[in-house]
């Protein structure tokens, strides 16, 4: 309505000027019958109002459409009033919609291709990695261990990218079932054996309750705990010699704590460590921080319905909790 009035205000003003001019000329010409002048003024006004009402009713939807912002793409395809301008708008919107749709499909395809490419590429890289690992075994120390350290880093990096790609399709890629938490932690520790040894760290599992089972996806949970372990190791090398795992039940919720006694996280960074690409003070000081690890952990936790919390004191260490409910 507002838009309609705004658009027609000029017409109304012109009409008023026109009527007053006509009446003025008639008046100056000596015609003095006030009733007739008023009557003709009334008639002029009446036709104007009739015209405006008719015009507005025919184009009501059209004006509504113009003044209400579009929220979804499909909204652009609503039917229009059966007037020329409405049809024209409709055609324009439809053309735009189609154009967008086409570009969406093209972009979607490109992204899909990119994801498939990444997936294939990562898998392809694993063969040369295996070859390097086997060849490195024939070298003398300390080169053999040094090679192994680098291939392990490559492996961890590839793994992260692989999981990042999978995160986009996580809806089709997770199966919630009962997971034995202690067993999972032991598997993660086995998997990271070399990392612990290299950094002189010893995992310590503290089971406050035995036989803790949680509803989760084993693969993704394994990934989450691995990421936490890798962080814990990275930030406690040379500062302490243990990483603690605490399994407990609080208020009916199972809680898994991964605690390190390393450098800790500065207060101003704690809030943002789960943001993508955020590396913070520690990330800048230590090498190979991508700022992706904790972001992925958080994303996965959200999908699985777990909560993740962190407490940390600079110089004393950090504790990451995964809360299952």
């Amino acid at each position: 309505m507002k838009l309609f009035l705004k658009e027609h205000i000029f017409l109304i003003v012109v009409q008023i000027i026109q009527l007053t001019t006509v009446v003025g000329i008639v008046w100056l010409a000596g015609f003095r019958q006030v009733e007739i002048i008023l009557y003709s003024l009334f008639l002029g006004g009446f036709f104007l109002v009739c015209y405006l009402i008719y015009y507005y009713i025919r184009r009501r939807n059209f004006y509504k459409r113009l003044s209400v912002p579009v929220r979804t793409l499909d909204e652009t395809l609503q039917e229009q009033d059966d007037v020329a301008i409405g049809k024209a708008l409709n055609q324009l919107l439809k053309a735009q919609y189609n154009l967008f749709q086409e570009q969406f499909i093209v972009m979607g395809k490109k992204q899909e291709e990119h994801l498939i490419f990444m997936d294939r590429w990562i898998h392809q890289m694993k063969t040369p990695l295996s070859v390097i690992e086997l060849m490195a075994k024939d070298l003398d120390e300390p080169d053999a261990s040094s090679f192994r350290e680098e291939t392990d880093r490559l492996k961890a990096g590839l793994n992260m990218v692989l999981y990042m790609g999978r995160l986009r399709t996580i809806e089709q890629d997770f199966h919630i079932k009962k997971v034995d938490l202690l067993k999972l932690i032991q598997e993660v520790n086995q998997d990271n054996k070399r990392l612990y040894i290299r950094n002189n760290l010893y995992p310590e599992v503290n089971e406050k309750q035995t036989n803790i089972m949680v509803e989760s996806d084993e693969k993704w949970l394994f990934f989450m705990v691995s990421q936490l372990v890798q962080n814990a190791v990275k930030y406690s090398t040379g500062k302490s010699n243990k990483i603690q795992f605490v399994l407990d039940e609080q208020d009916g919720n199972v809680v898994l704590e991964v605690r390190d006694f390393g450098v800790g996280i500065p207060k101003e960074d704690v809030r943002r460590i789960f943001d993508a690409f955020y590396t913070g003070e520690n990330g800048r000081q230590y090498r190979e921080s991508t700022g992706m690890g904790l972001f992925l952990v958080k994303e996965v936790a959200e999908y699985l319905g777990h909560k993740i919390e962190v407490t940390s004191t600079v110089g004393e260490g950090s504790t990451f909790c995964i809360i299952f409910n």
Binding site: S130, L139, E141, P142, A144, S145, K219
Partner: protein
């Protein structure tokens, strides 16, 4: 001697894998004709097949089905694919086990041996007991025995693990990381001190069979075996 067929299109990986497998006393053939593997299979008649999934012409699943038509020998898939679906497919197509790349040779060997044991029985496996040997010094890792100059003594599991690595790495240095990794198991995590203690024990065991000063400590790196006998 039990025969193992390796089907892997990456030549280098295949050769290295073959080298590892040969160390354990198996006869190895690397498949080369990827459009007609069955020919090689039928001539060689392997006891076990290590099969890659991504191959030129046909994939590993196809070859596994072909093998299953003529033989029930164990087939272990080796693949970079880690998806659950691929593992399911591997087993559905007649595979017995699945190893993902990159793999550690120890895991491959452990799986190979367990599959062979299951398929052909303990007896067959025992017939060719593994012996790690260097210049007359013999270790029998399965019996936990060390033998030199007709003198045989028993060793503990940890000592055997350390001696095995020392012998296998000879003349190179056995890295402390490798040694610790071998000594760690599920529950007990071993620290540097425990390793030192175990090395001392190994030295004593060497003395018992009449070998002195054979294990040299290389600080921060590991230990090296010297042939002093």
């Amino acid at each position: 001697m039990q025969k193992i067929l390796i089907v892997e299109d990456d030549e280098k990986l295949a050769t290295h894998l073959a080298k590892e497998v040969k160390k354990y006393g198996y006869d190895v053939l690397i498949g080369t004709d990827f459009s007609n593997l069955m020919n090689e299979f039928n001539i060689y008649q392997p006891h076990l097949v290590l099969l890659d999934i991504n191959l030129p012409s046909y994939d590993g699943f196809y070859w596994c089905r072909q093998i299953r038509q003529v033989s029930t020998c164990p087939v272990i898939f080796i693949s970079a694919r880690t998806g659950e679906m691929d593992q399911v497919m591997a087993l559905e197509n007649g595979g017995d086990d699945f190893i993902t790349k990159p793999f550690s040779p120890e895991i491959v060997m452990a799986k190979v041996r367990s599959q062979l044991r299951r398929a052909y029985g303990e007896y067959a496996a025992q017939q060719q007991e593994r012996i790690v040997e260097q210049k007359g010094l013999q270790l029998f890792p399965e019996r936990l025995e060390l033998s030199f100059n007709n003198k045989t003594i028993s060793v503990t599991k940890n000592e055997a693990d350390i001696i095995e690595i020392l012998l296998e790495r000879f003349p190179r240095v056995a890295g402390r990381e490798d040694l610790l990794e071998k000594l760690w198991d599920d529950q007990t995590f071993v620290d540097e001190n425990t390793l030192n203690v175990n090395i001392t024990r190994v030295r004593k065991k060497f003395l018992e069979v009449g070998i002195a000063d054979a294990v040299e400590t290389i600080r921060g790196v590991g230990y090296r075996l010297h042939v002093t006998w």
